[in-house]
C-alpha cells in the first residue's frame, strides 16, 4: 500500500500553508490515475448519477462541514470521477461527512452523494487507507462488532471502547459528562440484547470481505 501522495490541490482552509514554503509537485500524470475508479464508485453508489456531476458546488456550499474538509465534496466527486483514487481515499472529507444528506437533497443532478461517501469510507476501511488514529473508522468498527455480538448497541460501552482504542485521555475528559449523564439515568450499564441472535448471525455475512471491490 503506497503512502498517500501530497494533495495535488490545495485544501480550502489553508491548513497546509506550511507546505507552500517547500516546492510541491503539482502535476498529475494519467499513468498515476485509476481511470475506472469513478465508474466503479458510481456503480456502488446507486446509478451512474455520479458521472452526471456538473461541478456546480451546491454540495460544498450546503455541507455544514465542508470548511473542515481537505477537499470540498464537489472536488471529491470530480477527483473520484477522474480517478484520483489515493487522494480521495486518504482525504479527511469522507470521514467528516456526518450523513446529514443536505447536499443530496439539493444536488441538481440528484447524485447520491452520501452513498458515494459511504462507498468511499468502506473502500478506505477495507484498505486501511485512512489517517492513523482517526477515531471515526474505529467508532464504526466498534459499533459494528457490538451490534454483531448483541444485536443492539449500548452507547456507554461503545464510547468507552472507542476512547480506549483511540485516545484514553479523552476518557478522563468525558468522565465528568459521563457522571452527569449517569445520575440522570442516561448512561445504562446493563447490556441490551436481542433474543434471536441466531437470526442475526444467519443474516450477517459470516466473514468480512477484505476488499470493498472498488480497487482492481
Amino acid at each position: 500500500m503506497s503512502l498517500p501522495t501530497p494533495p495535488a490541490v490545495q485544501s480550502d482552509d489553508g491548513a497546509s500553508i506550511e507546505s507552500m514554503k517547500q516546492v510541491v509537485r503539482r502535476i498529475k500524470f494519467e499513468s498515476e490515475l485509476d481511470l475506472e475508479f469513478g465508474e466503479r464508485v458510481a456503480a456502488k453508489a446507486y446509478g451512474q448519477k455520479l458521472l452526471s456531476c456538473i461541478q456546480c458546488g451546491t454540495c460544498s456550499a450546503t455541507c455544514p462541514l465542508s470548511h473542515y474538509m481537505d477537499y470540498t465534496p464537489r472536488k471529491i466527486i470530480a477527483m473520484t470521477r477522474e480517478g484520483f483514487r489515493e487522494e480521495v481515499l486518504n482525504s479527511l472529507t469522507i470521514w467528516l461527512c456526518s450523513s446529514c444528506y443536505a447536499c443530496q437533497v439539493q444536488c441538481p443532478r440528484q447524485i447520491h452523494i452520501t452513498d458515494v461517501m459511504y462507498a468511499l469510507k468502506r473502500e478506505a476501511i477495507s484498505l486501511g487507507f485512512y489517517p492513523r488514529r482517526l477515531p471515526i473508522p474505529v467508532l464504526a468498527r466498534e459499533f459494528f462488532k457490538r451490534v454483531l455480538k448483541d444485536g443492539r448497541n449500548t452507547e456507554s460501552w461503545l464510547l468507552i471502547s472507542l476512547y480506549l482504542r483511540t485516545n484514553p485521555f479523552r476518557m478522563l475528559k468525558e468522565a465528568m459528562l459521563g457522571l452527569r449523564l449517569f445520575v440522570r439515568g442516561r448512561l445504562t450499564v446493563g447490556r441490551e440484547r436481542v433474543r434471536r441472535r441466531d437470526q442475526l448471525r444467519a443474516i450477517l455475512t459470516p466473514e468480512r470481505p477484505k476488499n470493498g471491490g472498488l480497487v482492481k
Binding site: I54, G57, S60, S66, R74, P108
Partner: protein, 670 residues
Amino acid sequence: MPGKQTNGEIRIGFYVCHCGHNIGQTVDVKAVAAYAEKLPHVVVAREYKYMCSDPGQELIGEDVRASKLNRIIVASCSPLLHEHTFRTAVEKAGLNPFFFQMVNIRENVSWVHTDTAAATQKANDLVRAAVHRVAHHVPLEKKHVAIDPAVLVVGGGIAGIHAALTLANAGKKVTLVEREATIGGHMAKFDKTFPTLDCAACILTPKMSQVKNHPNITLWTYSEVASVEGFVGNYTVRVRRKPRYINEELCVGCMECIEKCVYKEGKTSDEFNVGLSKRKPVYIPFPQATPQVVLIDPEVCIEFKSGKCKKTCVEACDRDAIDFKQKETVEEIRVGTIILATGFKTFDARRVPVYGYGKYPNVYTSLEVERLVNASGPTGGELILRDGRRPKTVGIIHCVGSRDKNTNRWCSRTCCMYSLKLAHLLKEHTDAEVYNFYIDIRAAGKTYEEFYDKLLEENIHFIRGRVAEVTDWAVRPSEEGRLVIRAEDTMIGIVRRVPVDMVVLAVGMEPQTDAGDVRRLFNISCSTEGFFLERHPKLAPVDTFTDGIFIAGACQGPKDIPDSVAQAGAAAAQALALIDRGEIELEPNTAYVEAELCSGCKTCLGLCPYHAITRNEELKKAEINEALCKGCGTCVAGCPSGAIHQHLFEDDMIFSELSGLLEPQPADCC
C-alpha cells in the same frame, strides 16, 4: 369486399436502402436483398445507396415497366418520413400508389441496434411481413380536402404578433386571440432587451398598434379558445370572449373613469407590475396597452359586489362605454390553419425555499426587477427595495428552476443573458456591487459573448458556483441585517458567504400551467417537459403531429426574442404554404361496412368519436360516412361479425403481416 382484387398475378419489386451508412453500417443490406429475392412473388430485389434520391425513385419506374411489377416494397427509413415520397414514385411508375408497403429498417433497426446479425435478422423478418402484406393491397382513391385561407393565431406575445402580421401582410385573414386584456406578452414587461439594450417598449409597441389597425387582423383580447373541431383546412373554432364591462367599440382609453373611480387608491395587486404596485377595480393593464381599452374587475368593483356604488366612472365616461350588464359571448370562426404561440410562464421561486423568496422581502425574481428598473414601472424606474432601502450590494442567482432535476432539468437559455443585462442595469441604476452566481455562462447568440465581455469589464463579480442558501443568518457583524448568500467559489475551491442587500433570482422558463389542456384542445403532443412537441426536432421545428397546426415561440421551448420571432415567421410561412397549395391530400384509411355481413347489432354506433357511423333504419344495418371517418379503426376492431373493414389496414393485411413476421425460421425450428 374489394380486397380480393389482386390485379392479376402478384409481382413484387423489393428495394432496400443503405441510406449512406445509416442503415448499411448495422444491417447487411446485401443479405437483405438476397433474402428478399427468394421470397414468394418477389420478382426484383435491389439494394441502393439512397432510395429517396431521384435515381433511386426512377429505379422503381424502370423495373415496373421492364418486369411488369404490380407491388412495390421499399425497406428504408420511417414511413412517417418518406412513405409519401415513394407512393408518388409508385404512382409515377403507373401503379396505384397504394400498391406500396414501406419497411422501417433505419429508426426501428439500424439506429437502435448494434449487432449486425440480429439487426439483419430483424430486417429480414420485417421484409417478409411486408411481402406477405403487400399481396393483399388494393388500389384506392386519394382523398383531398380544400384549405380554408383564414388563420387563427393563439397568443398575443411577440411570437403571435409577428406571425399574425406576417400572414396579414400576405393578404390572409387572421384572427388573433389573446387571453389577457392586452397583447404584448412578457416582452411588454421588459425594460431593455439584451444584448443591444434597446428598450423593449420602443420596438414592441409599434408592432402592437400595427396589429390593432391591420385590416386583415381581427384582434380578440381577453378571450380564450373554447373548442376546436374539424381537421386540417377546415377547423371550426369557438372563442369565449370574457366581458370587460366596457364597450370596446366606444372606449377610447381616455382613462377618465379610472381617474374618477370611487377608489382613490388602487387596492388590488397589479398583474402587469407582477404585484409590485396596486391598481383600481377599473383599470388598463399599462399605458400602451393594445387595445387601448379599460376593463373592470368584477371581483373588486363595488358595483358588482354590492350594487350600491356611486358609479362615478359612468358619470366620467362621456361615451357611455361602461356596461355593467355585459355578458360573456362565444364567437365561432372557421379557419384552415392554426398557429399556437401561447408562450411560457416564469418559474415560481417559492419552489426553492432555500432562496427565501416570499420570506425575505428583498429577494426578487428577475421579472420583478424588470418592472423595478422600468421607467414606467411601479417606482418610475428608481431602484427602491420593498423595505425602502437602496441596494449597495446585489446578488444575482442564476439557474433558479433550471438545470435542476429537483425542479426543471432543462436550461432556460435566456437567464444567463438577461442576468447579465440586469447586472448591467442594476449597476447603472445604483452603482451597487453586483455578484453573479452561475454554473456556466451561456452566451451563444450573435454578439452575446461580446456583451459578456462588456460586463466583465464593468467589473461585475462572477462567482462560478450554484448558491446553496440565502439566509438572514449572520455570523459576522458585517452580515448583520443583510441577506447572506452561501456558495462555493468553485474556481477558487472555497466556500464563500456573501452578504447582500438585494437578491435577484434568475427564474427559468416553464410551460404555461394549462399547456396540457391547450394541447388536448388542439390535439397536439407535448414533450416530457410539457412544452409543445414539434414534428421533427430539426426538419420540422414548427410543425406538429396534427396537420395544419403550427407552433411558435416559447410554448415550444425556452427561447429569447430573436428566436421566437424567427420561429413565428417560419410558422407563418408553413401556414402560407398550405393555404397557397389550396388543398391537402388525406390518407384514404377510412372504415367501411360490408353490408351483407352486417347484422345491425349496433355495437359500432357508440364506438365512433366522430359520429361517422349511423344506422340505415330500413336496411337495419350500419353505414359509415367516410367524409367524417378519421380512420382510427376502433369500430373495425369492435365489430363482432367482421363486417367493418378499414382501407390500408384490412384484417387480412395485418393477419398476413403477422404470418410473415412469425414464419418459422431455421433458427427456432424444434
